[in-house]
Symmetry: C2
Subunit: 655 residues, 2 copies
């Protein structure tokens, strides 16, 4: 018994209406509007295998318009993924259900990335498409030959990041990236003409994209547009003319169907209008079977792929990379031994480049890059060649002046797997990338951020370029490891920790200015504990000086001045708060003993340092914007020198 | 004696080369490349009066490519502004000189806004152009009839915010906005073709812009392009084909001239090539006089304008608005009295709308808006009409899904003067706007941010939409006042403080969920002190509960439970850290007495609260990402209820 196209698509519409109604919150309009397009995509184009959602050569499907999450949950359920179950969908938007308000990659296999913050899905898809071409260059068509498909709404196209993302994709000629634009003329505030007059196809064409259109409710029209998109060697935008909330008799075509339950009466009428007489959450067997058949389409190609993998000469290397394991023989120990033998006074951004020389030589899956600050971020090591439209095997990306786009693309690369992306900009411009850094953390994406020029120590560029609040505000992001190493050895240790971390992002804050090598031993990775005693008091300990990065040197100078006056002082280097907070109380008490004056020194905001100094301690930093001038002059100007700090410590000790 | 065009332009080139060389840092390439265009602009088009840099009807000139600051300093000096002096320029990039690395509006009249963070200059210019048309609609051509000119580089055009800004400008048909694009094919990393393949004119045309081109080194070509731009009623992009570092014999046309001193030898050769035989920092009198004449071009029109103002029926109102004074009779007292008479249990976002009804009725210079969340942010009051291309007199902007563009446009409006912008999005998406929020603070721009859905209390939308670290990370930004009111009365008080503040931005974090009215008196604006005792212990005080926003209700519930067990507890409402920290020690000690258990409750990160609780206190909050579920269920799930908190307080008291 054949099942009509309308029935197959209406199964999605019904589940979306019902789940949103049951949750009494959610977005029915988009799933109902895009049900036809998604049905064609899944039935005829998308390469996926619900029996093995992590199949390396599957197509990636990104629901950039994440508020339409019920579209994705319905597709996964119908096509036969183990989760979500129908019960999961019944519990849409409830604590404990994997069917969260917005799709979360850490909740459900089949959700390739976490979306909802608009525009980022498209930008992550660009990263996935880059990773695909790069791995294809390394392993060939036999193992890597897939596409990245995106459903995006007007919001995703209006956000600034869209410009960065499509600019990068057009430049890199990512022909395997296809964006299906849900062109329904509606945003939350009402018709799109309230806020935009843009000719979107012309804009995409101007950026090197292929554009094709279809009637988003006509099976043949959709299929023919997707065929054209697949055939073109440029990235494609498929303009799908749709009606939001299609099927809802009074709310279709209006913003009223966007983000609220339709209501029992509207749903009843919609069932009638759609010819879908079944009760809530009930999918007739014949419809389910048709969908399950769709989910089995790739079983054969998948089996063929497995055969090719089994006999492929690079199968072990491919498996290693896709598993995210570092090369078994990789280590920075020799490099660090060299530093101990011959100490170097360099900026930590240079120390990072030195570490990266060893890393990039030993870890072939890294892909470096910078948002147009290559020479300043020191992200390009000598052997790296550019990854370009002409040669995807390159391992260095000139991201252009696109901090946010870079960060989101790195998320996409990391989530695709098989590569480890790192990318740089100035620390102050972490603000531009912040929404994507947050998503790195939420999504457990293995991304390394290289943020240089990490304080007023950058000097003359002035307050627009001097981070003040940035270090602390990044530490606030859950699941992000923020490192601020003080010298070459710590920089290598922090890089090692960042690389080893498989389940989340790391960020290195690095100096512009040269710093002495303070570490003279490296029997263990001391940064792994987040903070440690770098110098011990020689006389009776009265003070513990806690610092990070460039201010560790200042702390050591202050300590020497205090010791010279008979006042014992430890210096604690604290490159990573997150790691220190995870240590046992006994270790933390040993490093920061109670009852001793604790003093923090960091060229950034002092708010937050009370955690380690206590209210009674002293906090030296900068709670105002910086200024333009030579770096040394600025540290003097703002009182961040040992000479300025020591008298205040002495005064406090007297009191 | 006539002075050649080349000499007039070379005066800029020479000052730029010399100042960067003296500072041993800076960006000579852009000023040298755009010297010719800037000379034509200042000599023939820009309406400005160095004798009165704040003239309300001056054209606004924005150097969006702020790294080319020496272009602007040279123009201001040459055309006769009181500052910078030649000595100021000699001290370029030194502490104390107003000639900072990047242009700072708070250092120099004539610098309309602070630039350097790329892309934001163009976006602020959009806001200035909106303010101009809006004030023109209110006061007519006689008083308001000027243009906004921008110089932008490839970086400004590549950043995502460019898309948001030009989309808004094209939609609003801001024909008085003209962007001069320094098309030199070079970015820091090298030729633009490393990272972009975009057809920029086509993209601008797709967004409703007029595009015209010129040879950026040919006086007549430049003038004719600017004429065409001025004549068109759409916003214009003028593509100026230039050579970066024009005049530097070996470095011109390369990224080598972008961001480093040219070096003594290159400068000597450039002087020769340019036919500029004068010593460093020396401008021949005849050249200076030609430039001073340029600076006097507007003296007559300015005098005419003053005459028109003197006899204009609305002159007092115009002067008031441009001075940024609120209407003398404006007050929220009656509105607050009504709340006391008839308490309301509403979400603070709704309380904000109620306050705005009173504000918008009494303060005609407000311009509201939202980044496509009007109904959720509650930013549109009943009487406000949309500001559109057809009617600039409207006071409500549908910004579209452009959080960053909205924030930057509001900066531009505020800096233009005559209007007070406020705009909304979800608090979690403050991340998207963060680079502009930082610039609001740095620039002392009077902008009010309305950030709703301020915690897990937003419920089902889940972790992508639930702010965790945002409140604290915004508090870290210097000079930004962050408010989180707990009820209708506090919301009104915070709005009053935000409006009264002339020298910087304010941000209101507002709940989605309903909250009881806890304030029963309003003899004074208690939020003005940042924190205050909302409830006093009835039995002997053993605990102080500190909370903000929606958690003040939780604190009151916890207090009642403690008091019922004979444990005295204060409740301190702390809507604004910045204001509380500015109070005298005696006040702070009274509100947060030492030696008592202090407990913070806030549905966000706990890091930072040690400042008020001390290490010994308790901190209740959320140091992980949220979850998708109904709000009440989430507060239970994460232990943020009085029932979950009180036992932990009792245990601590026992210990």
């Amino acid at each position: 018994m054949t099942v009509s196209f309308a029935d197959r698509a209406n199964a999605i519409r019904a589940l979306a209406m019902d789940a949103v109604e049951a949750a009494n919150s959610g977005h029915p309009g988009m799933p109902m509007g895009m049900a036809d397009v998604a049905t064609v995509l899944f039935e005829r184009f998308l390469k996926f295998d619900p029996a093995d959602p992590h199949w390396a050569d599957r197509d990636r499907f990104v629901l950039s318009a994440g508020h339409g999450s019920m579209l994705l949950y319905a597709l996964l359920y119908l096509s036969g993924y183990a989760r979500p179950t129908l019960d999961d969908i019944r519990n849409f938007r409830q604590v404990g259900s994997p069917c969260a308000g917005h799709p979360e990659n850490f909740e459900l296999a089949g959700v390739e990335c976490t979306t909802g913050p608009l525009g980022q899905g498209v930008a992550m898809a660009v990263g996935m498409a880059i990773a695909e071409r790069h791995l294809n260059a390394a392993f060939g068509d036999a193992l890597v030959d897939h596409r990245t498909w995106v459903i995006a709404g007007d919001g995703c196209l209006m956000e600034g990041i869209n410009h960065e993302a499509i600019g990068l994709a057009g430049h890199l000629k990512l022909g395997r990236l296809i964006v299906l634009w849900d062109d329904n003329n509606i945003t939350i505030d009402g018709p799109t003409h309230l806020s935009t007059s843009e000719d979107i196809p012309a804009r995409y064409a101007a950026t090197g994209w292929h554009v094709v259109e279809c009637d988003g409710h006509d099976e043949a029209s959709i299929a023919s547009a997707l065929e054209a998109a697949r055939a073109d060697d440029r990235p494609s935008l498929v303009r799908c003319r749709t009606v939001i909330g299609k099927g809802a008799p009074t709310k279709a075509g209006t913003s009223g169907s966007h983000g609220s339950p339709l209501g029992a009466e509207e749903i009843a009428c919609a069932r009638e209008a759609l010819g879908w007489p079944y009760p809530a959450f009930e999918i007739p067997d014949r419809v389910r079977e048709a969908w399950l058949a769709t989910g089995q389409r790739a079983a054969e190609p998948h089996a063929g792929w497995k055969e090719r993998l089994a006999t492929h000469s690079d199968r072990a290397e491919f498996a290693r990379r896709m598993a995210g394991d570092l090369p078994a023989d990789f280590s920075l120990d020799d490099y660090v031994a060299g530093l101990l033998a011959e100490p170097k006074k360099v900026a930590t951004r240079k120390a990072s480049e030195m570490a990266l020389e060893a890393i990039n030589a030993g870890v072939p899956e890294t892909i470096g890059g910078s948002a147009d600050l290559t020479g300043s971020n020191n992200t390009k090591t000598k052997a790296l060649q550019p990854l370009t439209a002409e040669d995807y095997s390159g391992r260095y990306l000139y991201y252009g002046i696109r901090e946010f786009g870079m960060a989101a693309a790195m998320n996409g690369m990391a989530l695709h797997g098989g590569v480890i992306p790192y990318g740089g900009t100035f620390l102050v411009f972490s603000d531009y990338a912040r929404p994507a850094i947050r998503l790195s953390a939420l999504q457990h994406a293995r991304v390394a951020y290289v943020m240089t020029h990490d304080s007023i120590g950058l000097g003359e560029d002035g307050p627009t370029h001097q981070p003040i609040e940035h270090l602390m505000s990044l530490r606030l992001i859950p699941n992000l490891d923020v490192y601020r190493p003080c010298d070459t050895v710590e920089t290598a240790e922090c890089w090692a920790l960042a690389l080893e971390r498989k389940d989340g992002p790391s960020l290195l804050a690095l100096s512009r200015q040269n710093l002495p090598q303070l570490r003279t031993e490296a029997a263990e990775n001391r940064c792994a504990r987040g903070a440690y005693r770098l110098r011990s008091a020689e006389t009776g300990r009265q003070v513990v000086l806690i610092a990070s990065g460039s201010e560790v040197e200042t702390a050591v100078q202050a300590r020497d001045m205090l010791e010279a006056q008979g006042i014992g002082a430890d210096v604690v280097s604290m490159p990573c708060w997150e790691r220190f907070d995870a240590q046992p109380q006994s270790y933390r008490d040993d490093v920061l003993p109670p009852g001793v004056l604790r003093v923090s020194i960091e060229a950034g905001t002092t708010m937050g340092w009370e955690r380690y100094t206590g209210s009674e301690g002293l906090r030296f930093g900068l709670d105002r914007f910086g200024a333009s001038g030579p770096a040394l002059r600025l540290f003097e100007h703002f009182g961040l020198t040992a000479a300025a700090i020591v008298p205040q410590i002495l005064e406090r000790l007297k009191a």
